[in-house]
């Protein structure tokens, strides 16, 4: 099984540049243009589709393996995140850096959670709709949804108002947030590790 994982991982990694090229190609020229082709181009188009399908299946398989297999996780993710534990000192430093990363990530997640929940809207009403003679309104809200509701039909706005500022949750997609968090985890860990090593060289044993 380990050998199979290793083969799958290599196929996944070697296929990655091809998939990136395919993605750039389809983004620039659109996939529809290649559907009507004949001959070698048609063959190439079909082959690319097959490569992408295989790569997609492999990515699902490997990500599940990463979740369920501790040894596979150690082998792949430790290399990907540059974790080195060659002796007890490095194990200790890794522990400290991981603790720092965990706590800072948690702080970032809490911050993102609040940012995604809060809703602020500042707008101006027409003079005839003034409330207590005031036309400037600040509306605050707290929205929490377990599921995406983008497909839900929201009631149409009937109030005639001039928006000055409107904020209703994070403007980035969930995919972007997940990607940013992955990058954050790796960067934060390596930054903490570098800092701990620098402190150690200065003879400082504290955090």
């Amino acid at each position: 099984m380990k050998r199979l994982d290793s083969i799958f991982l290599k196929v996944f990694l070697y296929g990655l540049p091809l998939v990136i090229i395919l993605a750039i190609f389809s983004y620039r020229y659109g996939l529809g243009r290649f559907q009507g082709l004949a001959g070698n181009f048609k063959l190439l188009y079909n082959f690319s589709g097959l490569v992408f399908a295989i790569w997609m299946l492999l990515s699902i398989y490997l990500s599940v393996r990463l979740m369920v297999s501790g040894s596979f996780r150690n082998l792949v993710l430790a290399r990907l995140t540059f974790i080195r534990e060659r002796d007890e000192r490095e194990v200790m430093l890794t522990g400290r850096a991981t603790r720092k990363t965990f706590l800072t990530s948690l702080a970032v997640l809490i911050f993102l959670f609040f940012l995604s929940c809060f809703q602020v809207s500042i707008y101006r009403l027409p003079p005839e709709k003034a409330v207590d003679g005031k036309t400037g309104i600040i509306s605050l809200g707290f929205g929490f949804n377990l599921l995406e509701y983008s497909h839900k039909v929201l009631p149409q706005e009937t109030l005639q108002k001039t928006d000055i500022f409107s904020y209703a949750g994070l403007p980035v997609s969930s995919t972007a947030v997940i990607l940013l968090l992955i990058i954050w985890q790796i960067t934060s860990y390596n930054f903490s590790m570098q800092r701990l090593m620098r402190n150690e060289q200065r003879g400082d044993q504290g955090e």
Binding site: R86, D87, E88, R89, E90, M92, M197, N199, E200, Q201, R202, G203, D204, Q205
Partner: protein, 76 residues
Amino acid sequence: MPKWPPRLKIVNRLHVWRAEHRLTQEQLAKEIGVTRATIVAIEGGGYNPSLELAFRIARFFNTDINAIFAIEEEAR
């Protein structure tokens, strides 16, 4: 106010023992199975080795652990 016990600082004479045995940091690291950075950190006082590693170092130099590592009281 509770009276805290004095803080203890572990000092070592590893660089002296290493020099006496004419060993480089790299050589010593290889002999006791750690990285050179660990030897640098121990000698510089930036890292206190575990008991196991301290005993391993003492055994390598064929001496008592107290000959290499000692405790000093640190003023708070």
